[in-house]
Symmetry: C2
Subunit: 177 residues, 2 copies
């Protein structure tokens, strides 16, 4: 894929607990200069955990959208350089209480390339073993174990989260569902 | 889907050209109060434009991720209350130079429900007619018309944008590709 140069200058706008925002000026190959507001993000992982023809999902409060959403388990990289598979293993254990003996990289994607640097690595996790979850009370996560036969209604109606739809649509595609 | 109450108080952090950021406190049904950094967004549309077993994509510079990305055409609602189909018609004309006689709502989704209010409405657009594009030079959009037979490599490798993957995976699913 063709690349763009890093910004020629940047000005921090805000550094929060989760969000870091900056304004940066970029010069394109044709010489045009453009200013962009950019949210920095260390990257994330999303997991498609499968056991006995069921997929494990999480339901949790998402204040920004004022809903409890149904999503695939996911999480941020601890630091920008963390190995994605390590983050995936940690988050799978924390959120759904499973370890996986088999992992497969399904390919990653940008959350919103117009505004956030976040890249999400997507993994299929199989050969699962149950372990205690370690999610905090604040996360308020409920695990839902759904049969493959629910995949059509999950991808057509129930799931309204972009990264989770990508993972579930890939799972459905993989199994011809 | 279960809902959460709107914030009990909010503090603006930053109002930019594209981004509005606030910190808000929410009270959950169980009484727990949590603070969240939230990016406000009016919502958006993404279109899956199909003609003669080809899908129309756009390649454009995305400074935030320092890449030229291949995406489905998309755009923001002009205002939070704009009718999504009207925005879809406008953006389809602007970005790929087509009007569509047939529109189908494929169902929407949140971009990143942990942090952004953005909801993206996804439409299939068919019965296309060519018209002049009206994208600005700054957008630097190149249209790519790709046959359905490219869908597997588009969804497995070439496209790395979450909203576009959802639209293309739905198109592939619809046609059993």
């Amino acid at each position: 894929m063709r690349e763009l140069d890093p910004p020629i200058r940047s000005r921090p706008i805000y550094e929060g607990r989760i969000v870091n925002l900056r304004e940066s000026r970029y010069r394109r190959p044709d010489g045009m200069e453009v200013d962009r507001e950019v949210m920095d993000h260390p990257g994330a992982v999303v997991m498609v955990p499968v056991e006995d023809e069921h997929v494990l999902l999480v339901r949790q409060p998402r204040e920004a959208v004022e809903r409890y959403t149904l999503e695939l388990p996911a999480g941020k990289l601890d630091v920008a350089g963390e190995v994605p598979l390590e983050a995936a293993k940690r988050e799978l254990r924390e959120e759904v209480g499973r370890t996986a003996a088999a992992w497969r990289d399904l390919g990653g994607f940008y959350t919103a390339p117009a505004i956030i640097t976040e890249y999400i690595h997507c993994f299929l996790a199989t050969d699962l073993t149950e372990v205690p979850t370690t999610a905090s009370a604040e996360e308020a996560i409920e695990v839902e174990r759904r049969p493959f036969s629910d995949l059509p209604r999950l991808v057509e109606r129930e799931v309204e989260d972009a990264k989770s739809l990508v993972g579930l649509l890939r799972l459905a595609r993989m199994h011809g569902i």
